[in-house]
Point group: C2
Chain length 254, copies 2
Amino acid sequence: MGKINTLEKPTPEKTTRFIKNAIKKSKLLTIAGKCEVDYQGRADGYLPLGERITILKPDGTTLVHQKNNSDPINWQPPGSRPSVKTQNKKVELKSERTSPNETLTITIHETLHTTSYNLTDGAQLTLNKQESQMQKQITKNPEIIEEGLRIIEAERKTGYGRIDLFGRDSQGNNVIIELKRKRVGPKAVDQLQRYIDYYQEKGYKNIRGILVSPSITPNAQKRIEDQKLEHIKLEPPKTKPQRIKTLDQFKNQQ
Amino acid sequence: MGKINTLEKPTPEKTTRFIKNAIKKSKLLTIAGKCEVDYQGRADGYLPLGERITILKPDGTTLVHQKNNSDPINWQPPGSRPSVKTQNKKVELKSERTSPNETLTITIHETLHTTSYNLTDGAQLTLNKQESQMQKQITKNPEIIEEGLRIIEAERKTGYGRIDLFGRDSQGNNVIIELKRKRVGPKAVDQLQRYIDYYQEKGYKNIRGILVSPSITPNAQKRIEDQKLEHIKLEPPKTKPQRIKTLDQFKNQQ
DNA sequence: CGTGCCAGGTGCCAT
DNA sequence: ATGGCACTTGGCACG
């Protein structure tokens, strides 16, 4: 890991130089300071003066975090281009991108603390209990859903999106299956119905729609019944954690 | 602002003490270090060793950020309870919550840099181009949608969610309006249809459904026509930015 | 790039 | 707590 540099209560000029250098060297940067934030783009926003932590990542991601909440109060996504200058004794940190065109302007009135980091990390997250795992599980053991069911295709395309699983039951009916990893409401029913509509428009007959999820709200259950669809309760599976070594770790071992 | 404290390459014991103190004093904390992350809860996840920045907020929010991407690779939401201890010469930082029950465990093998902050910030973001602003705009000037339209109610309840705007046209038809701040696909059409279904189940006649958005995908347009609904193009309004002074700023002036 | 969907979505609000 | 939904959703996969 490269050296970590920190400035405490630097002047605006020093802050600007520090940020410029961090951007050039592709470092991850945190800036604690009193700032106001202006955003113009997909929406327009203004955040008055306050003390926050700004994070600038090497990929252009910019995050402004307040002392509470998971989500940043203002941000700019990866791919944004940062720039910084001193103006009226304030540090003006801009992060811009095109398509869509948007600009985040952080005006730092007072820098309290700023640090630049050089992080090495090639690891990837492995996750369980995902919808994709339900898909694999059912493809392998269709009898979980129903005896005699055959899965023909996963992710089958329609004009309105992809069907999670498409199959045929023991009676020869077409079966459209929509999977959800957690409790569902009416909009999951509509998603299923949309795929059925697509095939009915195409002239298909004998189509069954099955919504699969751990649970369902009462309103969604009513709508399932009204539209002659079916719901089956199923929890997402928990597979063994794969603690695969990543490229970075492999390199570290050389 | 309270004092900002920083430790560089502290021992596990020093790190643990530092974190404990920051939690007790309700400070915002950042920890740069080589760590692995385990998550058990709504899903199960494991992130192998790598260098990351962990942020611990006074409200219990915990964020693990890699050097790229907007989203944290692992996290815990506000309301989680953090705890920390030294074990096998490693720092084990846990963040737990109930309902749902979930635990995030960050095992720090090496602390590179850690800082605690005491931030003062009562400011709130004002945002333009929101759906709620389209709602107000149309309520005030219904002729934007159609001459002779009267808006009767906003957020009218149905069994399947709330209707953005409910009104009546010059012919006496009931009009259900669904607003979207950006380009819509088929699922917005279904959302509108769902509200119409609700009133049709109730026996209402003469119901029109109007989807209002800046633009629409071809598939959604087709579905609008198939279901005899209507689409009207409208951009979300940009109102004047309100740079209202917040309580914190008011206090600062005393 | 646009189209569509999953996500440990988060956050907000109403019952 | 549950329900339903907007969001600068972000992220991914595919045409």
